[in-house]
């Protein structure tokens, strides 16, 4: 738990290589750090700052804008329960209350076993499926109290392989072959967007 591991540094360098300016890779690198440790540690931010050539304060300045980056340890499963208007009408607040009872924690807290953190969130764009929630950003639609308890039981039992630990965005990491990259021309150095040049080349 700290700086990026050597394996992750390799991935980080590959990610940095996709962008015309190293600091453009900041967000993907923060995800990488969060995937490594479950949250974004100070050490990882300082390491990312070195890798992309900005100050640690600048990394923090960018990272702290985004709710999805956590700077304190959170549970293996981040449960986001929507309480915005559609979900509220359809029982979202009751679902949240039920979740609090089931897990014995308040929003923002983590269970003692380190497995669950609950957050009440604003609309997660699944209003047609209200009330809904996400576990590590995977959707669960029209959730009843019973279904919620079952979900918790399954997660506890390790029966939900489809939901990796908090921080992992996808099981399969995106790899962009070098020849498919947009190129490393800085925007100021080109008359037209690099992607446009690329697509015109492809057409001709």
């Amino acid at each position: 738990m700290a700086r990026l591991t050597p394996d992750n540094v390799e991935i980080a360098l590959e990610i940095i290589g996709r962008y015309p300016r190293p600091k453009s890779a900041l967000i993907p690198l923060l995800h990488l750090a969060q995937e490594q440790d479950g949250h974004v540690t100070d050490e990882a931010m300082a390491h990312i700052a070195e890798l992309v050539g900005v100050s640690a304060a600048e990394v923090l300045g960018t990272a702290s804008f985004y709710e999805m980056f956590k700077f304190e340890p959170v549970g293996r499963y981040m449960v986001n329960i929507c309480t915005n208007i559609s979900c509220q009408l359809m029982g979202g607040e009751e679902l949240l209350e039920h979740a609090e009872h089931t897990l014995g924690i308040r929003p923002g807290q983590t269970t003692a076993d380190g497995l669950f953190t609950i957050e009440d969130v604003e609309c997660i764009a699944a209003c047609t499926e209200a009330p809904c929630l996400q576990v590590n950003y995977r959707y669960f639609h029209r959730i009843t109290n019973e279904e919620f308890d079952q979900l918790v039981a399954d997660l506890r039992a390790g029966a939900r392989n489809d939901i990796p630990a908090h921080g992992t965005l996808a099981r399969v990491r995106q790899r962009i072959p070098v020849d498919r990259r947009a190129g490393v021309v800085t925007p100021e150095d080109t008359a037209q967007p690099v992607w446009l040049a690329g697509s015109q080349e492809a057409k001709s």
Binding site: D42, M45, V54, S55, A56, A57, L60, G61, S64, F65
Partner: protein, 834 residues
């Protein structure tokens, strides 16, 4: 950006509140309005930084042909025919609304806030804001001031998020260590955890913060603005000569602030200069003279001390008197001492430098450039001197601006990577002793075909190509980048460059406060006041002074050598501390032990003056009026703001007192009379009157008048090539540089700066560790032919292979003991201690 510049011919005519105003092309509306006498309120806009449009305080009604609309005047350029109303109902409502929003969460701290009374938020709320708040809810609360560095505290409740401090840190200083974090409803300025805002320029953020969110630890709760008395003066923290204002209350210095003058500092100061305010009131300031007794230095009467000093001086053979120092002085002080020692006593063993600069003939005799010319758009600047960030910090800011915004090409030649290396188009690190070799390759007619001075051939040729491509004269920042190598190496490099490009101009970068003024006043061997040589000006001064020294005397090295050999009877130290500053500590030690009488004229005791026999208490900065001269040769005024401690006296008074005890009358009784004599007698300063200076708030660059019919000024004589020393594969070549914060008086006299002197270790390239056989952070013995020091060792990729870098004048490790003055380089063996 001075207000006096005439509008450019291709001006843009706009209408502001019904009046026609001619704006410059591309000028921001907020600036054009201000020049025309209409002040538009603002928080985030600062004329020395790029606009960001953060605060919306500058909204005005602008009609660019499509009907009036509110626009932030700091973000729009004037366009022809634009009609602007800064006083309309809509504008007023906008200003009122912006202020109400800004005050929603602003605490009612004014009575306990350092900014109260000079706060733009207070002032503009009074002028443009609502009389009353409609906010009845609880305000946001944050922990009251948190230190973001040793010098600056941040009160986040007071912050209005104008982005001035953060922009300054990134844009101007290049130290983006503070940033907006938790952006959104909870935005705040902060540092990264455990990574303080350790910038040499942090104090500027306190000055430009439009509220009391950023305060200086040196000034908290010290004074209220309406109690302050203010005078303009010139910073004496280094020779860059930033213009400052000095605030005092109750006859005590409270703070220094930057004053914006176009040719020099643009309003910025470095933290050493700004917080040197504390050195004026320092504990330990001498308020009375001291005489050595059996039990050490003891307070004495002025009559006794002056009599003792006069007796020692009159008893000594002039050739056995040595005078070291002078950078602490005003020009008037320096002239008075010069006249006393050279004109009355007839000794020429006088040197304002401490063996760590360059010969006066080079500093005064090379064709000079100004800061503005150095930084002029599109030029090529060669840095052949010290790290400006460490030694002349605001020069670093000006160079940084020139490179980042004005297309200046910076070519750095330095013994190790420095604070400015990342801005250089090419930065080369020749082996110590081989800079001349490198310059020969850089100026040669054909490309190099081999590595030079340890630098790969392609890098040499890269710089060679840029140098060859330089349009117009090359401008050189010239100084002593490492005292670990002889000045002859720098002079060799200078000679080569000047021979290849005779139109090259120089900014002499030796750093001590008024060193250039002291040299101008003749405080150097072989010179007389006015940048003239002893022989060239013998007749001129022969008829104006009581006498002129018979022959060229000794420089500091010579004086100390003579003292060590027992040939010096009296050593006078004008604010100098050779034991700490002379680059050969063992010679300095033998000299101090070997001289019969040491007279120290100083504001505080230092390591050398503690061993003096007679100590004359001198008035210091802000305690006396006069003039000073910066590295460009710009003369500007110094003002008295407070009374000196006790009975301490200005140096010029001491010089005249001593003269009269020696039976001579120096002929002046005030700094004004000295300046009048200087303007009448000193060739380079002819016509420099107090009236002229009073009309020139930016100071005056010399010479100002005709130069014909005067003694010929000193000229730089090209020096012989220094052959590259043979490479010893077992040894490391020493690189000895300075840091901004060291054991010098200004830093150590202030409680807030003294802790910032970081000490030194020996730093070598990571690839060199194997052959030493210790781990980084371990302890090694560093051995030169002179001395062995046991010091910690660290890896530093900025130090080239085969060299070892140390910092001089830090606590604990006296690295000056390693060096032997006169050697071209200093070779070290680094070994494990076991």
């Amino acid at each position: 950006m001075s207000d006096t510049e005439a509008p450019a011919v291709d001006g843009v005519v706009v209408e502001i509140n019904g009046h026609e105003v001619v704006a410059r092309k591309g000028e921001l509306l907020i600036d054009a309005a201000e020049r025309a006498g209409t002040y538009i309120p603002r928080f985030c806009y600062h004329e020395r930084m790029k606009p960001v449009g953060m605060c919306r305080m500058c909204l005005v009604e602008v009609d660019s042909g499509r009907g009036p609309a509110l626009q932030p005047s700091c973000m729009i350029e004037c366009t022809p025919g634009m009609k602007v109303d800064t006083e309309s109902e809509i504008t007023k409502k906008a200003q009122d609304g912006v202020l109400e929003f800004l005050l929603l969460n602003h605490p009612l701290d004014c009575p306990v806030c350092d900014k109260g009374g000079e706060c733009p938020l207070q002032d503009q709320t009074m002028a443009y804001g609502p009389g009353e708040s409609r906010m009845v809810e609880e305000k946001r609360h944050k922990e009251k001031p948190i230190p973001i560095s040793e010098l600056v505290l941040l009160d986040r409740e007071r912050c209005i998020l104008c982005d001035r401090c953060t922009r300054f840190a990134k844009e101007v200083a290049g130290d983006p260590l503070i940033h907006f974090i938790h952006r959104g409803n909870n935005t705040e300025v902060n540092t990264f955890p455990d990574e303080p805002f350790a910038s040499y320029f942090s104090g500027n953020t306190v000055q430009i913060c439009p509220v009391g969110a950023l305060t200086a630890s040196t000034y908290r709760f010290k004074a209220r603005p309406w109690d302050l008395e203010t005078t303009e003066s010139t910073c004496q923290g280094c020779s860059f000569g930033c213009r400052i204002s000095i605030d005092s209350s109750r006859d005590q210095i409270q703070r220094f602030s930057g004053v914006d003058i176009d040719p020099v500092n643009w309003g910025w100061l470095c933290d050493k200069g700004r917080f040197s305010s504390e050195a004026v009131n320092a504990a330990g300031r001498l308020g009375e003279p001291l005489l050595r007794t059996a039990s050490g230095l003891a307070p004495a009467r002025w009559s006794e001390a002056l009599a003792a000093a006069a007796a020692a001086l009159s008893a000594a053979d002039p050739a056995a008197i040595g005078v070291i120092g002078g950078a602490r002085l005003t020009n008037e002080d320096a002239y008075a001492w010069s006249k006393l020692f050279k004109g009355v006593l007839g000794t020429d063993n006088v040197d304002a430098q401490l063996g760590d600069g360059l010969p006066a003939e080079a500093l005064l005799g090379l064709p000079r450039t100004t800061i503005d010319d150095l930084c002029a758009p599109g030029g090529t600047v060669v840095l052949l001197g010290p790290d400006p960030k460490e030694e002349l910090p605001v020069l670093f800011l000006r160079l940084r601006h020139a490179v980042e915004n004005d297309g200046v090409t910076l070519l750095e030649i330095s013994p190790r990577r420095s604070g400015i290396s990342s801005l250089a188009a090419v930065s080369l690190q020749p082996r110590p002793g081989e800079t001349g070799e490198l310059l020969r390759a850089l100026t040669a007619g054909t490309e190099a075909d081999r590595d030079i001075a340890g630098i790969p051939v392609d890098r040499v040729n890269a710089m060679r190509a840029l140098l060859a491509a330089a349009a117009g004269p090359v401008k050189v920042v010239l100084g002593r980048s490492s005292v670990g190598e002889s000045e002859a190496v720098t002079l060799d490099a200078t000679s080569v460059l000047l021979a290849a490009r005779p139109d090259t101009v120089f900014l002499p970068a030796v750093r001590r406060a008024n060193i250039h003024g002291a040299l101008d006043m003749g405080l150097a061997p072989g010179l007389l006041p006015g940048r003239v040589g002893l022989d060239a000006a013998r007749d001129w001064f022969g008829s104006r002074w009581p006498s002129v020294p018979a022959a060229r005397g000794l420089d500091t090295t010579g004086i100390l050598t003579a003292a060590a050999a027992g040939r010096l009877e009296v050593l006078v130290l004008l604010g100098a501390d050779p034991l700490a500053d002379f680059p050969d500590a063992r010679l300095a030690e033998r000299a101090i032990a070997g001289v019969r009488t040491i007279i120290s004229v100083d504001t505080l005791l230092n390591t050398t003056s503690e061993r003096a026999h007679i100590v004359l208490a001198a008035a210091g900065f802000a305690e006396k009026a006069g003039t000073t001269t910066n590295l460009e040769g710009r003369v500007s005024t110094l003002s008295q703001r407070v009374t000196p401690p006790g009975t301490a006296r200005p140096d010029w008074v001491l010089a005249t007192e001593l003269a009269s005890r020696l039976g001579a009358d120096l002929g002046f009784a005030s700094p004004a009379e000295i300046l009048a004599e200087i303007s009448a007698v000193v060739p380079s300063h002819l016509g420099l009157t107090a009236d002229l200076l009073a009309q020139a708030p930016d100071g005056l660059v010399l010479p100002i008048g005709a130069t014909s019919g005067l003694p010929a000024p000193v000229a730089f004589t090209p020096t012989p090539a220094v052959p590259a020393p043979p490479v010893d594969a077992y040894a490391f070549r020493l690189v000895a540089t300075r840091k901004l914060y060291d054991q010098g008086t200004i830093v150590q006299a202030g409680p807030h700066l003294s802790g910032l002197a970081a000490g030194t270790s020996v730093r070598v390239n990571p690839y060199d560790f194997d052959r030493i056989g210790v781990a980084a952070g371990g302890t090694v013995s560093v051995r030169s032919p002179q001395a062995t020091l046991v010091m910690p060792i660290h890896a530093d990729a900025g130090v080239p292979r085969g060299t070892a870098a140390v910092v001089v004048n830090q606590a604990e490790h006296r690295v000056a003991e390693l060096m032997n003055v006169g050697d071209v380089i200093c070779e070290l063996l680094i070994e494990t201690t076991s």
